[in-house]
Subunit: 474 residues, 2 copies
């Protein structure tokens, strides 16, 4: 899901920490014009794709090397000033907001591919490179990096939020695909976690501790990733179903059979209608699954036949196949345009997005109960999902000026999260906690686990200068 969310413009009570002019002066002296205090630049760096708001950071530093990030952090630490790493700005839950003041460290200029080891299926990059830039840079190697959170996010940001996307059902998330990191610590030191070896039992898994830490434990300055051979054959299919339940049951059975499906995305009938209107398509206005199979030509054929057989049992019909890149792109247009189509279906609206993920056996129950609730609310919505993982997103399309609609949408989100947690699921499959889900995290993990997170945070960042006020209150 790569859609902006809109959430109440409420922030946890917090105090802006002072940013002494002496720090700004020191940064200007060291970095010259690359330290900007222009309001437009600061405002751009003080928000993300969500709609929470906070005063902008006091300055933005455009760092060009690990050394510069480390120097900036040391200066900030000297003055107890928060630092907020910034990549592509595509996060959704308020991750980038300077809720306690401070300076933004923009790493988008650190966007080089440092080395590709095609034989090892690994690549090492700077954090500012985006996933599309990365795939462009490696296109001659016969390899690709599969994680696609929709937005053309930076690899550093994807690492920091433990992102995933449509390919995760086959290739895993950033958790499984980050091998090693270079990190600048809260003290301005630099260290490396992990190696390029595929596995290791060498001490605490600092790599996985950093992945998903949302900039609160260190600033990621290099990432070593796993790559995958471009599949010999790729086949995509679109299939309509008489009900959401039929579509979801097809997915559940596919996963349970161990079919190595590469992508399986659900789009509900509301959303198909919006997509048809937006893109002048004539898709059947029924729930549909978009699927992709990767493998050898024979393997892809076999997988596709298996899934087609399962779908048939659930009344799936109108299988449409695409094997050329152009045909595939056309099929995937429906998925990629879903958000924009939905937002345009109600002019002036904003979408409040959910991100629950449940064990696959509970997916149908979780989805269907939530559909009933959403329908009863009267608020229009779209519904899409990485259903192979048990992860899906409602987007409640509210009038941003209506306090009542916002309240109802947040209430629906609350009910959905409570339902997902009661089914052994999580409040966030891939968007992260940021500011918006701090309460949900406490519900999900419990006070003991959140206390353990706090203890780790305070141990690594005793001055609480690394993206403070995110994930949990200290």
């Amino acid at each position: 899901m790569n859609a902006p969310t809109a959430t109440p413009h409420l922030l946890p009570e917090t105090a802006l920490r002072p940013v002494p002019q002496a720090l700004i002066d020191a940064l200007r002296e060291r970095f010259g014009e690359r330290c900007s205090t222009a309001l437009a630049v600061r405002e751009q760096h003080g928000r993300d794709e969500g709609s929470l708001k906070a005063p902008p950071p006091s300055a933005v530093l455009f760092a060009e090397s690990t050394q510069e990030v480390a120097e900036a952090v040391r200066l900030a630490a000297q003055y107890d000033v928060p630092v907020i790493p910034y990549g592509a700005g595509s996060s959704l839950e308020g991750h980038l907001l300077a809720v306690q003041g401070g300076i933004s460290i923009d790493v988008s200029r650190m966007n080089r591919m440092l080395r590709v080891d095609a034989e090892d299926l690994t690549v090492t990059v700077q954090p500012g490179i985006t996933r599309k830039q990365l795939n462009e840079a490696i296109k001659d190697t016969g390899l690709f990096f599969p994680i696609d959170p929709g937005a053309d996010a930076s690899i550093g940001g994807m690492t920091a939020t433990r992102a995933s996307g449509t390919n995760a059902v086959r290739y895993g998330t950033m958790r499984e695909n980050v091998l090693a990191l270079e990190v600048v610590t809260a003290q301005g030191g630099t260290l490396r976690t992990g190696t390029r070896a595929r596995k290791s039992a060498a001490g605490y898994d600092l790599t996985r501790l950093m992945v998903g830490s949302e900039g609160t434990l260190g600033i990621i300055t290099e990432i070593t990733l796993r790559l995958y051979p471009l599949p010999e054959a790729v086949s995509a299919a679109i299939c309509s179903f008489p009900s959401i339940e039929a579509a979801v049951r097809t997915v559940i059975q596919t996963i349970q059979l161990g079919v190595p499906i590469a992508r399986v995305e659900l789009i509900d009938s509301h959303t198909v209608r919006m997509v048809n209107a937006h893109s002048r398509l004539t898709l059947r206005e029924e729930p549909l699954l978009l699927m992709e199979f990767h493998g050898s030509p024979a393997g892809v054929k076999e997988q596709a036949e298996t899934v087609q057989g399962i779908a048939g049992e659930w009344g799936g019909n109108a299988f449409e196949w695409a094997t050329t890149p152009e045909e595939r792109t056309r099929l995937w247009t429906a998925r990629h345009n879903a958000y924009f189509a939905a937002v345009q279906s109600r002019p002036g609206c904003r979408a409040i997005s959910t991100d629950t993920c449940v064990p696959i056996s509970r997916l149908a129950d979780c989805l269907l109960d939530s559909v009933v609730e959403a329908d009863a609310s009267g608020i229009p919505y779209f519904l899409v999902g990485h259903v192979g993982d048990g992860n899906f997103h409602f987007g409640y399309l509210i009038d941003p000026d209506s306090t009542e609609e916002r309240r109802v949408a947040e209430q629906l989100n609350h009910q959905l999260v409570a339902r997902a947690l009661s089914m052994g699921g999580t409040c966030t499959g891939e968007h992260g906690v940021g500011i918006h889900k701090m309460g949900f995290l406490l519900d999900e993990a419990g006070a003991g686990a959140v206390d353990m997170m706090r203890a780790v945070k305070l141990a690594l960042d005793p001055k609480n200068i690394l993206n403070p006020g995110k994930i949990f209150a200290l």
Copy 2:
């Protein structure tokens, strides 16, 4: 690799911490006969399959529930006494030794399967269940748990050491296969990490922090694991090669092509000879690969043909196939008996095992250079490896009474680790750090990363009572 190691009987300088009689009395009062101070019981719990030695713990508590583990930890914390969790005792690097004194908490009686969710491909178990017990318990579900570190280790221990084994090339390690945990903290509290959802972006990845922490951050009392559908077809093959290089090049190309091979194990010609002598087999005394393919019948056939084609280019010959379980077992006998065959080839010897893992492109160089050194040393050895991961084990077969042979073997190990690190690899692919590799960890991770591990340890266990003296010195 499931073989005992033998290493110098040297321990880092450390002081035994006092275990007050009042604590023993309190444990006896609470747990009765399940708190044992019998010397034989204590000695059994004060060692592992490695050969490092330390005085035994002062008492052994056979815990039967999470609540009991928590109570025991609270009592120990009250007296600042170390607690060392004990599962099956199969670790290799001194993990279980009471180097600072304390009490052992044996969780082997906590060996129940708590729930299996076949539809979700997950299972939740107590830590004392062994991997064979687990697979027996789920055998009617059509699912299996693939991780096999050789020894019939406990799932708790495998989690604590981030174990892997022959199937990791396809199914990953404990890092990828633990979804959620229940953990008793150093304060005697209980918390849960993770959920049964396949992915989550909900805060710090405490699950992965605990996996591989070797009992130093918490005592694992429940584990939720991923399971996999039993493959529709399984095919195993054995193939001899004119050289180690030819065998390894075959593996490298197989991995680079993305063939989803389930197992690929190397056995060198020395070891084949030992296995033939031990098991009265007539395998060609050449380096060989043992392979296994999982999938649909057609998929398995296709994978096998691809690999056979690659092997042919490298002079691989005498492909022998096995598709029935009995034939497969016979083929795998060579691998499973390798350690025992090797040790019996030199009566009275002990094996010093290595555990390096390197990026796959460097596997041939790393192996071949180390073979040259081992050959030059004059010390007999065996060589086996999970080569699909870049992980392999030398076992130097030394006379335990010869200080010189021990010195030479440790020197070979040192050279091998240095070589692996210089190639971007790790000192331990799957055995963990324990006591034996504390120096190697520092070489590999660097002082900054080890300092970060120390900071985490002190934050979570300020009294340093959870398996102290392991992974790093405080």
